[in-house]
């Protein structure tokens, strides 16, 4: 039996959609991220942010096929070696750390860790004058990406600035 749900690209919402056995609709969006271009002042293309969200707030019982489906999408995404990915775990219900751990567990078990580099960074950003939010971020790219060195260099500079802020 297939371990993941079938998903389709919805041309109206511009998201990859799938419906679980509990009839919950998930949408997965890739948005173009220009952070690396902005910081470096150079054109760095094929950087995307991944966003996974349910279409409503319904609480779903654990369903392993959801993460398998997301894994499948990420694996397909990296079939194009020039692609790179930014992923931030949401802190809904203060579960960002747990989500980050789950994502990390997937990566460690994945055969793709041989070819996909994942760099994690936990950063604090100010969301108001007195309030800071902790962000669990991951940046992933293919070892054969032609911008490999450039991506690493920009990321390390970015990381340096952010770590100064911690």
């Amino acid at each position: 039996m297939q371990s993941h749900y079938n998903y389709v690209f919805d041309e109206i919402t511009n998201t990859y959609n799938f419906v679980t056995k509990n009839e919950i609709l998930y949408r997965i969006a890739f948005i173009i991220d220009e952070t690396f271009s902005t910081i470096s002042g150079e054109e760095i293309s094929n950087v995307f942010q991944l966003i996974v969200e349910k279409s409503n707030d319904e609480i779903e019982p654990y369903d392993s096929k959801v993460s398998k489906t997301i894994e499948h999408i990420i694996e397909r995404f990296f079939q194009k070696i020039e692609n790179s990915l930014i992923y931030i775990c949401s802190d809904d219900n203060e579960k960002a750390e747990k989500r980050h751990e789950i994502f990390n567990r997937w990566y460690k078990k994945s055969k793709y860790k041989e070819v996909i580099i994942k760099i994690d960074n936990i950063i604090s950003i100010s969301i108001s004058e007195n309030e800071k939010q902790k962000l669990y971020t991951s940046f992933m790219f293919h070892k054969q990406n032609s911008n490999f060195e450039k991506l690493l260099e920009i990321y390390s500079q970015l990381e340096k600035v952010l770590n100064e802020e911690k």
Binding site: N14, D33, T35, I39, N46, D57
Partner: protein, 48 residues
């Protein structure tokens, strides 16, 4: 590239990653319009 990175620019860029994500999540839940995302400069992609 070896040039000094503008700290303010980095912080602004990272803040934009976060706000873009929240805007898209809100859009997926039907609470934000696509026009609002376009105004923020958010561009969807179909990389698969």
């Amino acid at each position: 590239m070896k040039k000094e990175v503008n700290k303010e620019l980095v912080l602004k860029s990272v803040a934009k990653i976060v706000t873009d994500k929240e805007a898209v999540r809100s859009y997926i839940k039907g609470k934000t319009s696509i026009e609002s995302l376009t105004t923020k400069g958010i561009k969807f992609a179909k990389p698969l």
